[in-house]
Amino acid sequence: MAELARAKEPFRFFTRLHLSELTGLRAATLGRLLKFIKDVPGACIYHHTHRFLQQHQYLSPEPPNDFAYWVSEVLSEVELGERLASIDTVQYTTIRQLREKIVETIGAYLKDNKSAKRKFARREEEFHFIKSVSFVIPTNYFAYNLREFAQVLRQITIDSIYFHVFEARIRLEKANNDFSNWIEHSLGDKELADKFSRLDPYTQTLEGLRAALIRMAQDRIGD
């Protein structure tokens, strides 16, 4: 077995558990939806744009964000729903940027479609704003080289993968996922780090993502 580069610092895997906090805020019209999207905490925007990734683990590509779904299915504003669904989340590195894009998309649509303002959802179909509360816990898994890294990737929960790939990048505003950062800065393998960064995690299931990450690490070490 070939000698592998040893990391300056080991990668410690964390896991992430979460609770959904109800805000009590609900919208029945596009106008109210837009108002609340502007005002609610970033944790709400995060919840409604990332919830599907953990809840629907067997669908690929993932369903769109909650806003797109509600606008299409409840208000029957299909065109706006498509515009919201086509927002490419991976392009945004902060929740603030993502929120601005959603606000801009709904605002522009309302400007051109005055009648859309008059549509109401029935009480039981109102949009409920929910906030995501994360609990991040260190696991006992460490990796000092790529082989150990691939091995641990097989053993951890998808919640751990979710935390290091999605939450670290956009919610903790690290600009990149934790795996790429470690591979570049602790293992000194910029090429593989870039490969990890280029992977669009929003277009696959979490198990698919796990498999892709393992495959890339294994290809690199020739296993």
């Binding site: 558990l17 959904s20 906090e21 109800l22 009590g24 039981e124 816990i137 929960t157």
Partner: protein
Amino acid sequence: MARLEEYVSIVGQPVIDDLRLLADKLKGKVIQHINSTAVGGGVAEILNRMLPLLKGLGVESRWDVIKGGEQFFEVTKKFHNALHGKPEIITQHDFDIFMETSFRNIEEVDTCGDIVFVHDPQPIALIEKRANNKWLWRCHIDVSNPDLKVWNFLKQFIICYDTAVFSAPSFSQELPIRQFLIAPSIDPLSDKNKELPQSEIDSVMEK
């Protein structure tokens, strides 16, 4: 009763490992559940399965049941229906009966848990015993369109809790306390839910 290891084939070992990490955070704490019945009904079904699993994780937990007579449970049944939006005639006498039993339970139930989960409206007034521990009110019923007379009566207790837990977003209300969503869950290994062998299904169908 199923052991924690038996769930590995359903959720995978990593999920059980994560639960153990979470349980470590609760070391030294006692989690107490309080409801109105030890058998029958959804809450008892959940707790009967959940407590042994918590024990398996090393989390100290206890389960207490309040006492109440026929009149008390007739009133809480009316509350239940009214919270579901069904018209019910609820008098001051009903509220008096509810409080009379609640005061007896406040005197008798030991609420020594570090974290106290009170389930549904029947034991709700126990919050009067709140000390330095954490109190959560878990509402298992649909309160999206409640009779306001009953809801406002219960609300005076709910707002004294640290947090409320609902089963669906539409059940949440405007409250000054934090509210969390925990979806209803079933135990895949309980007699009611476990997979049956095809031979058993066939033999029942043939009867």
